[in-house]
Symmetry: D2
Subunit: 340 residues, 4 copies
């Protein structure tokens, strides 16, 4: 941590800052220049609040040096975390595909889609039983009925199921039905929900918030890890920018970046990340090429009749093409890694 | 709603779109050009899903024309909604100030601040008992103990109290203690929480999300209104941009804009909106000048010792100055409104 | 400047960094912690390149401490810079209004508007002779013919004239006609143009770039100041965000912030900043309340017939109202400053 | 184009809008609903100004339907434009690499790097002779001396050379030396510069602006095409977002999106797009996987001594690895395209 004193800060002000840091076990060094005094402080960042220092008299600025996440960091755990969901392993260099419709609209629709994606190579099923909708007048999901349909689809296909949970109260019920619990982008900083899913022995899929920095995303992961659950997968799903041709701007640089900062697997959601069916396959391949650990994609047997997200949903045959393409690019990437 | 067909869309595709719209009660007009056919559809937007149309074969784009919010709109209710909290009225042209520390750190600290701001003209007390913190290692709030301290401060000062609730489960408890329930920026789209506070007969303060559009903010308000609670105040608290000198970018144009779109009162939080104490007073006055219905501001008797948000907290005397300045600008604005 | 070494950086790597800094006259202090070594370096930041250090082996991060602008800073010049344009003084606590149409469409239109705004209290005339248009098919301005019309309007009204110059080559011609040269948002980092206008003894109005940070904006000012021209006014005109209800997001916090960082006057452009006529007056008053040094506003005698920017243009009578409102708020603000 | 009238717009207002459109050759259809009248207008969008309509009395909103770019669009030209620079062809499915240092620092440094990248598979050389620097105190480039060094490197390596031009005046000189002229991100909307390079029979590399939408980028391309130069390559180089771990957010979805909207080749700059050496290779491969037509990358023989952009520069051997990796991924992608 570096504390920059204001021009004209008094020696007493400098001393007060120094004392507070030393009292909290920091090792402090002073650099006095003609215009400014700066203090370098090395110690346990959790023992002093960044903003508290900034509010001290004579302080101009406090610059954090160390990353604030611990359990999520590569320094804490060097090896990749592997998360097993059914036969899919996330984090081992493979790229499992999770597929299914945005929302579970009914038994027939979901089972049909589930069978179609299972036949084409999906390793897990996605589907929304609880839908976060901007409008209270939009379809909000089938709730527990949807979970039952998912469970039936699992029985039929043998594939594990993933669904979003939006509130603390529903976590026990959802956890009973599904194989992986998803935290959606809008709830990335719903800290009570993070702590709650942290208590279960069940893989969690944590989506990046719409305008969350990578640091905030890893700090949200830290909440789950700190609550005791280390079966955690991160999912990049696009951030909010000024661009309007795409629904979001898929930040693929987050994949290699997070993988260098953290041991957690990172997957990508090109459906929400772009909002356009035509971009799903190219962006999936791009994600594979830069090292993603999996893909979650929306598939609907009849997008034109989908109750939500039709424009970004693949049909099953497009998904089948995607599965083959992903394998082709993955082989090339593995060849590269082996060679260099 | 306007549906733009792709160049080369077949007559059958155009007809299919038209039929679906007519079946849902829309009045549809066709415009055929050399390059494109476009369909204008006038009807009840809630009866057809925007994205479902977009996924139909031959459709290039669907443009929503009507605003999606209803109960929050000026068209639904022409007169300003007035929300009464203690002696403060929000929405009647006055500018009540809500003041207090970021977090309740202890009995003495909070009571002292409460008395100080009450003496200087605050009309309501703010304070955090449950704190949404980026890091699980940061102080998370005193919980119910904090609420009890707030209640005691109310008894002493006679001022109503406002606090944030972060999860559905805590709503009943919080509602029992406080006079206004705050939904924080991170929970603006926590739809279960919105529905929950919508069930209580208690004013709600709804902060704008960090990267929420004005439309999404009004849709979040719609969730609360639709759940039966119309005592609702909106709070602009800064949005996330690329600028780093300020904590957020306070979007003051949201004030006159929302007041033209909606009947709900809009207040401003210049403390979180800027993150810098020196900017709190100028931005408060700016908010008054463009028509805000209130101000919520962080005050701490000793910002350098505050456990959080010290750099953006006023000391009580600065708050006293702010109260007088706000009145001076408000008088000028009222003179203007009277004159023109 | 603070240099953070990577975990595991070798002593030789630390030494190499230290040596380079010392060789450039920096005073360097080492802080060795368990996990990291950090170097605090105090000296002349222009003597070493930030990114060059960052590329040295073993360096994790370099954090700049000092602000990079010099001549634009308050530390360089404590007193407000006053810029005189005709009878308007920018920087002395008054709020001169600059008014006129977006583009000069013809002699009659411009003269008529000029007379109308002069009668209602404008202290300078704006008008575009060279128009930066997104589309090559849009009206690009009348060029020198427009400048002649402006000069005639100056003769008639006695008001100084301001216009945008878009390229280096046109600067001499524009400088001959006008009283203040405007650099538009799209050219804020057109460094050749900045250097060119820096050579003239003519006030310059420098608009903030669409996505420029405040630091970049002040660095652009630095180019002009460093080229020898200190008659410089900054203009906040809205930044690009995800919000779509407004054309841009007017960042009013930039006003008090820049005025604390710099001695230069700062004015505001609420027309481009919002894109909506109804928001021009409230946002102008907000700007006055937070300390702006002037306002530049689009006025058109018939916005519905304007060739560009009609939706954000006031009619002359609305402008007259604005002039009176600005004075009322300004008086309130002066009363406050006097009292405290 | 769709014109939405305000609730309560008078028949005369509707008629006035209709008349103006018809007078400009539009085919207009009226849809009257209970709350709103909307007009659908099909015709030549360049014949009426969008904002002029928006300023007409009674008009609430005008929605553009057609894309505003013409010559840049796929509808204008179905086949891919191929741009030949030396032996590199951009747009034919291959992925030529352009490599070299950020700035030309001296003869030896540049020649050495040029030879190193030529040996490892670069098909063109990049290097900055005129540098757009945020600070006037930073190294601004060697100017014509730099161009001479580049020309010498071309003689030695046989590779074509690419450099940025920052102002209209320098275009003739730059055009004489180089094989492709680059327009940098900060000048994407320097319309005079665009028109100037449009006059030369020389390939142009047009970088996307820091906060330019895809539509604005294609409109900037339109300026060059409309000026007579169709040898145009677009370059995605990252956009400005709130994320701070990367220098910019590389928007790879722009690649398949622009390639569907336009016939122009699109290349990617992962060096500026990320600002981090470790991200250059993964993001390059991602770009190949989603269909880019080339890569421009910064290479320096000694990044720690580079005068600018060291942290994002590869060393020649890393570049050699990149060349092989790109070919491997490209083969996989070609295999896919052939198969499906």
């Amino acid at each position: 941590m570096v504390i920059v004193m204001k021009k004209g800060a008094t020696p007493a002000q400098v001393e007060a800052v120094q004392e507070r840091l030393v009292a909290r076990g920091f090792n402090v060094h002073l650099s006095e220049g003609i215009n400014r005094t700066i203090l370098g402080a090395v110690g346990d960042r959790t023992r002093v609040d960044h903003t508290a220092l900034q509010a001290m008299p004579g302080v101009e600025n406090v610059v954090a040096i160390m990353k604030p996440f611990k359990m999520a960091s590569r320094e804490f755990k060097t090896d990749n975390t592997l998360v097993q969901v059914g036969r899919a392993t996330f984090g081992d260099g493979s790229v499992p595909l999770i597929a299914g419709p945005c929302a579970i609209e009914g038994r027939e629709q979901f089972i049909e889609t589930a069978v179609a994606v299972a036949e084409r190579g999906a390793l897990a099923l996605r589907g929304g039983a609880f839908k976060p909708r901007t409008s209270p007048y939009s379809f909000q999901g089938l709730g527990e009925e949807g979970l039952k349909i998912m469970a039936e689809a699992r029985d039929i296909t043998g594939l594990p199921i993933v669904t979003e949970v939006m509130d603390q109260k529903s976590v026990p019920m959802v956890a009973e039905y599904v194989d992986m619990i998803q935290i959606g982008a809008r709830n990335m900083q719903n800290f009570y929900l993070l702590k709650e899913v942290g208590k279960y022995n069940k893989p969690v899929l944590l989506k990046r918030g719409l305008s969350a920095t990578i640091e905030e995303w890893l700090m949200a992961a830290e909440y789950i890890l700190d609550s005791g659950n280390s079966q955690l997968i991160l999912c990049e799903r696009g951030i909010r920018t000024f661009e309007t041709y795409t629904r979001n701007t898929l930040d693929l640089s987050a994949i290699p970046l997070v993988k260098s900062l953290s041991h957690l697997p990172v997957i990508v959601d090109p459906s929400h990340g772009t909002g356009k069916r035509d971009l799903v396959n190219p962006m999936s391949l791009a994600a594979v090429a830069c090292g993603c650990d999996g893909i979650i994609v929306e598939v609907h047997t009849n997008p034109a009749e989908a109750w939500s997200d039709g424009p970004q949903s693949l049909i099953p045959d497009e998904f089948g093409v995607l599965v083959r393409q992903v394998q082709a690019v993955l082989q090339a990437i593995h060849g590269i890694s082996g060679a260099n």
